[in-house]
């Protein structure tokens, strides 16, 4: 059993996101693969925009549940949170909804309230580096949105990687540490886990009990620099705070799950990371 903490399924307005435009029908050229292209296998459900195939790919990868990550970004495209609600309604056992929020939008707080309270979403997704004004994760302009999330006991999924923002400083996890101190009771999941600042990211988890790392492809791609540090941490103190995620469609479900299964995580750690940590965090355990 596997819970995937970060997918954008090939459904409705998700298909308008830049991440789909980037990867749909992607073919690796003969030379010069970029970081995210490294050994990437084709993803039929994404290429064919097929939810039926996606569900089959979930089953084939042993993935029983997926966090559906919304996005509202003036730079990278937006997903309707109502589309997410509709998808979850159609497959309540498979999908866990997280709302996409543009923290600088005038209705941001109201949308957090609506999705977490009225629609019973489990959390919100924020891309601080991809806002109309790129921001660091602890920017005070986002405080009201995170406060609303915390008030509704939501989880904040915050993206942090070299691609999210105008330069690498936006991936520095010190901003996550400061955000975590501001909202000590709000769980924060760092999507892409602040790569390449892996040393700092695992240390942030050490000092902030509410921070979780979801390093997705930065853990799955072979020979990823610094990834061993995620591994060392997970096999010791980070055992309860690392979460499997594919970041689909950046990488397929099966390829991601296979990579994590063969990453050198100890078997007791693997169980926690692939399933139990997410299950407990999402409150799915009965």
């Amino acid at each position: 059993m596997i819970l995937d903490f970060h997918v954008r399924p090939p459904y409705a307005s998700f298909l308008q996101l830049d991440v789909f435009k980037r990867w749909q029908g992607h073919k690796q050229g003969p030379s010069h693969p970029s970081l995210l292209e490294t050994d990437r296998q084709p993803v039929p459900s994404s290429d064919l925009s097929s939810m039926d195939l996606f569900l089959k790919e979930m089953d084939g990868a042993g993935i029983t549940g997926c966090v559906v990550a919304g996005r509202k970004s003036p730079m990278q495209g937006s997903v309707s949170n109502d589309d997410i609600a509709a998808l979850v309604q159609a497959h309540p056992q498979r999908f866990i909804p997280f709302a996409g929020i543009d923290p600088l939008a005038p209705d941001a707080e109201a949308e957090v309230e609506r999705t977490l309270s009225d629609l019973a979403f489990k959390g919100i997704c924020i891309d601080p580096g991809w806002c109309s004004t790129p921001m660091y994760a602890d920017d005070t302009r986002m405080d009201p949105v995170f406060a609303a999330c915390a008030a509704h006991k939501g989880i904040a999924l915050v993206t942090s990687s070299p691609f999210h923002g105008p330069d690498l400083s936006y991936a520095d996890p010190n901003a996550i540490a400061r955000l975590a101190r501001k909202f000590p009771h709000m769980p924060i999941v760092v999507a892409h886990a602040s790569w390449p600042f892996v040393d700092m990211a695992v240390a942030v988890c050490q000092i902030a009990k509410n921070v979780y790392l979801a390093p997705d492809c930065y853990f799955a791609i072979r020979d990823m620099p610094m990834a061993n540090q995620y591994l060392f941490a997970a096999n010791s103190f980070l055992k309860y705070r690392m979460l499997f995620s594919s970041s689909y469609p950046v990488r397929g479900l099966k390829q991601s799950a296979d990579a994590w299964n063969n990453s050198g995580l100890r078997s007791d750690v693997l169980e926690r990371v692939l399933f139990q940590n997410a299950e407990e965090l999402l409150g799915l355990k009965i």
Binding site: S31, P33, S34, D39, D167, P196, P225
Partner: protein
């Protein structure tokens, strides 16, 4: 002993100050060509080489050496000197040492802009020396400043000489998001057991395969030893060949 001095074997051509001997050492190590890196620095104890001497040396061994001009960002004549070197003498690129300027500079300092503008307009290669040894503290080797330059001039090829060591984690990420950034880690990769070196090799075996460049930083090491220990790193065969030859050939248009 600085980390770069670890287990250094003597280099006769350095000790004897003999340029012909250096060329023989190149032959023995099967080094076909080498970039001659100029230097102009106002920093104390750093020194300068007239670019005309670089040109003279290159012409002494036709087909073996490629000239890069050294310029000091504080020299108001730098843009003119670059134009002269490139247009009149066929230099392939320009080298700066921001951390060794006096006072020291970060690579994205506005006072370097005239140099970047000139190099960008001429379409030659920009070499930025960047490591723990350059500058009064480690912030000067943080490659985010180079990322900002790379984004301002997306068509200007930038080589990070010394690879921003020890910040190889950041350097590979900068190279991953900036197609115009190359890494030449020299001694920070070929010195045995250099911390962070393996991270760079991992990147070179995947997404950095076409952007890692071998260099000796002679006289820090002799040619033979540098190649020997570089090759002992865990490169995949294709990545090793690319780093030793093809990547540089492609970048230099050879």
């Amino acid at each position: 002993m600085p980390p770069t001095g670890f287990r250094r074997r003597p280099v006769p051509s350095v000790e004897q100050g003999d340029i012909d001997l250096m060329m023989r050492e190149m032959d023995e190590a099967h080094v076909d060509m080498a970039v001659i890196m100029g230097r102009e620095s106002c920093g104390t104890g750093i020194g300068s080489v007239p670019n005309d001497e670089v040109y003279e040396l290159v012409n002494r061994y036709p087909g073996r050496l490629l000239p890069f001009a050294g310029v000091d960002p504080y020299n108001p004549q730098a843009p003119k000197e670059i134009e002269r070197c490139v247009k009149e003498m066929g230099f392939r690129g320009v080298s700066i040492d921001p951390g060794w300027c006096e006072p020291p500079l970060y690579p994205d300092d506005a006072c370097i802009t005239p140099i970047y503008e000139t190099v960008n307009a001429l379409g030659v290669i920009m070499v930025i020396n960047c490591s723990s040894m350059l500058g009064p503290d480690l912030t000067y080797s943080n490659p985010i400043a180079i990322q900002r330059v790379a984004q301002r001039y997306p068509n200007m090829k930038i080589v990070i000489s010394h690879g921003s060591w020890p910040h190889f984690d950041m350097a590979v990420a900068v190279a991953a998001v900036c197609p115009n950034v190359y890494i030449a880690p020299d001694c920070y990769l070929y010195v045995e057991n250099m911390p962070m070196g393996d991270e760079l090799v991992r990147a070179a075996n995947t997404f950095l395969k076409h952007k890692l460049l071998f260099s000796t930083s002679y006289p820090i090491r002799g040619f033979k030893q540098a190649i020997e220990t570089w090759s002992m790193r865990h490169f995949e065969p294709e990545a090793l060949t690319l780093s030793l030859r093809d990547n540089a050939a492609q970048l230099l248009g050879l």
